[in-house]
Symmetry: C2
Subunit: 341 residues, 2 copies
Amino acid sequence: MDGRGPNAVTLEEVARRAGVSPSTVSRILNGTARVRESKRQAVEQAIADLDYRPNVMAQGLARGSSMSVGVITQDIASPFYNESLKGIEDSLAGAGSGYAPLFVSGHWKKEKEAECLSLLAARRVDGLVVLTGVVDDATLLDHATRMPLVITGRNLQGPNVVSIHADNEQAGFDATQHLIELGHTRIAHISGPEGNLDAQARLAGYRRALKEANLPVEERLIATGDFHETGGLLAVNQLLETRLNFTALFVANDQMAYGARLVLYRKGIRVPEDVSIIGFDDLPASLYSTPPLTTVRQPAYDLGKMAGDAILRLIHGQKVSIPTIPLQVIVRESTMRRRGT
Amino acid sequence: MDGRGPNAVTLEEVARRAGVSPSTVSRILNGTARVRESKRQAVEQAIADLDYRPNVMAQGLARGSSMSVGVITQDIASPFYNESLKGIEDSLAGAGSGYAPLFVSGHWKKEKEAECLSLLAARRVDGLVVLTGVVDDATLLDHATRMPLVITGRNLQGPNVVSIHADNEQAGFDATQHLIELGHTRIAHISGPEGNLDAQARLAGYRRALKEANLPVEERLIATGDFHETGGLLAVNQLLETRLNFTALFVANDQMAYGARLVLYRKGIRVPEDVSIIGFDDLPASLYSTPPLTTVRQPAYDLGKMAGDAILRLIHGQKVSIPTIPLQVIVRESTMRRRGT
DNA sequence: CTGTTAGCGCTTTCAA
DNA sequence: TTGAAAGCGCTAACAG
């Protein structure tokens, strides 16, 4: 009476009840070989009677595969990455693949991420998908010698790895361009964390767009945030303090855009009448914010789906080819033509 | 060359390298018995040299426990439940418990949820935590005979089960009361899905508050949504069509409140000047919406933490007692005193 | 087609 | 203390 309840029924019991050998049951379960119809029926009956479910751990041990894929995200509650998790979930479940995802969070910390990797290794996952991540390429590549790897937000090359990435520089360019086309000339930017590759690329795109339009790049109009709401909040305050009177704002992700917008609201600065805002990501919430946020759509769900499909193929030793993810400006109501132009 | 890479190092190899028997290594790993210091050192050295990690599946098979707990959520991308997932994650990781959560999504579908249960059973999880869920009590109780269960949003009784719940009726009352205190007399309500217990309780609280204040309950001022943004959007349209001129709105969750607010924004109805809105849940985003949403705070993260702690205790055969979760009105800027009162 | 026989990597008596 | 040996539940040759 330890609360564990009766032990689960085993394959052997099924075999006994059906009057066949364990191997036959196994074969039927896995479709490994042809079996006489009568036996199949008996076995299936026994399985149903006993409500038998194969012990995945035992299967795993025996065939050297855990039937699970490790997924490293940064925060299980991140509105952006979760869309990707959903895509991964659907991909693995959809194929009836039998694979289950094992989600772990690295929280943007190298050590934390290393622990995650370690945990997943201990559980002998058959494949690994890393959403961005902060661990270094070398470590990743090392793991990739042991199992297939798909990674996003990075361009890693290797025999057992596929990387999925989008042209963030171009998207940053497009976003800024959108503002320029609306007649804005003083365009501020709230960038993401220094070390973040995506953030760097978006910033580069911003710079290029200004240059190509022969607009000056004013460094004081570039603030840095942490990709969270508070970061946007702080950054916009800093921008406001410059008194440089920008009329438009390109924010490196939607979460920071929310924070920025709150500050503007509090100060009575209207969006988009006084300042236009364009974000990045197109979180589900952006469509319902007031006003609905103009932003760059990142197909997070699709990206997760691709990642899931890719890791499955890799595990099965198939070839994978991944197109570059398209990024697209979604014009909604937080941007408008500059007044007086 | 199947891409699987070299096989991982085993306990036996460690034993060999350290010049001891496998059992000794096992004992050192698990602290199962005292071992001579010299051997311990040798083993630890070998483990380090070989970068050995125990195979969790093999451990699981041998000791009849998978070291994982199944978690059924409804949508891996739900802003509300994800906070709870985070709490669960922290709880399991924090204790250095060695347990890992296995997250699966039921998508509010009975069959889907049954599949989840089945998957978790096949993986022999040591415990189960179900976030609300739509599966019937009987099925749940049945699973609880096989493993400990903690469930939220329901009041289930059983030997191996603990349920965590909050007084939603009272919270619905408090929310409505807040509006009444601000001088509102025509208060509309957007309720959650018919079958949802929490939704029913919140609605009941709304009714009671009106009655106790001697305010009439106008049925046309009660609309039903699906707990998503679109639901709120549709519902508020329906409410507006009644032309009943409500000045305040109690919405059964924040997501629907966002949808509702968007409609009002589009129609030029100001929040809170023209209509006050109070939501429910206090999603992280609500603090950053414009204006910041007054709402009822549900401590989703803490709830997850409690659930995690509880399942761990249950698994270890310890007693658990759970307090009723406190729910609290958080006054922000989407509600204000009715004009002219 | 089907049963027998070894393991998969680890834990856990049982003796020593 | 420590090692030998017997499994945990399943798969996968290898013979028939």
